[in-house]
Symmetry: C2
Subunit: 151 residues, 2 copies
Amino acid sequence: MDEQLTPAPLRKVPSRMLSLVATHADRLVTEGLAGADARKWHYAALMALRASGPVSQAELSRITGIYRSDLVAVINELTERGHVERAPDPADRRRNVITITDQGRRHLERLQRLMAELQDDFLAPLSGPEREQFTDFLARLLAHHSRLRRA
Amino acid sequence: MDEQLTPAPLRKVPSRMLSLVATHADRLVTEGLAGADARKWHYAALMALRASGPVSQAELSRITGIYRSDLVAVINELTERGHVERAPDPADRRRNVITITDQGRRHLERLQRLMAELQDDFLAPLSGPEREQFTDFLARLLAHHSRLRRA
DNA sequence: TGACTAACGTTCGTGGCACTAACGAAATTA
DNA sequence: TAATTTCGTTAGTGCCACGAACGTTAGTCA
């Protein structure tokens, strides 16, 4: 795909490198999770549900960053697999309450181990301290630009 | 979009942060270049053409990483704007030779200044040395994973 | 020379992702 | 009571990475 054929000034554009690396990382985790019949969004949703307890879809959307229109399919897939349950909220009949099941918890633990491996594969070229620095940079960039977007 | 609502363990997944940052960076440059009636691929193609001289579309594809099927539209757009010329290669009638025009060179210089600003905006939260470290990390990750893909 | 193989430019299609619009139903506010 | 907002859902947009297949042309080699 990307070669040393690419002229240096183009090869060094940070946003370009970033998007290429992101593509690689994305494929890595997508393929890895596929082996466990899961997608990234399954991981995000289950992690959020375990941490926050039962919540509505709208709130789960805000928590995970998954658009509520896309979340519908994710919840469908997770209910099909028995990892979550979708029930109408008696207190507010517009809402669905999403709850993680025991099976979902067990599944999530497998996913978490898998995910740790995948992140490790992804960061393989970096030493421990370098990984911390790298993720710190990412966190700062993320904070900066998502703050701008909100304004 | 992304909030501090997100539970910490999810928020810290490196590949997730990376893809969020990449999305921000991408939007930044896409919107920035749109103001100059250009796309990222225009920049990549023009940079490559200036560095390598006239080449065939297939070679330009290898050099820039743009798929040759997608490159067709890019060359169309650039010829419409008078930035490149597409001519059949008399030495090999399968090939089109793509050449950057003088107008293309002038356009590219504007794009290069614009791109420098955009990269600067993108990296704003990082100091000079930090930027170098960050791009070094990216380069190493990129080299690692594109080497794997080729094998 | 003739058959095979490979490269080229092009068109079309796929799947995923970020994101918007609009809707009926239900809740909240004025 | 009327107007506004929220919720889940469906449908659709545009962009991107990528693959399949096709006709055309070149190179290979029996």
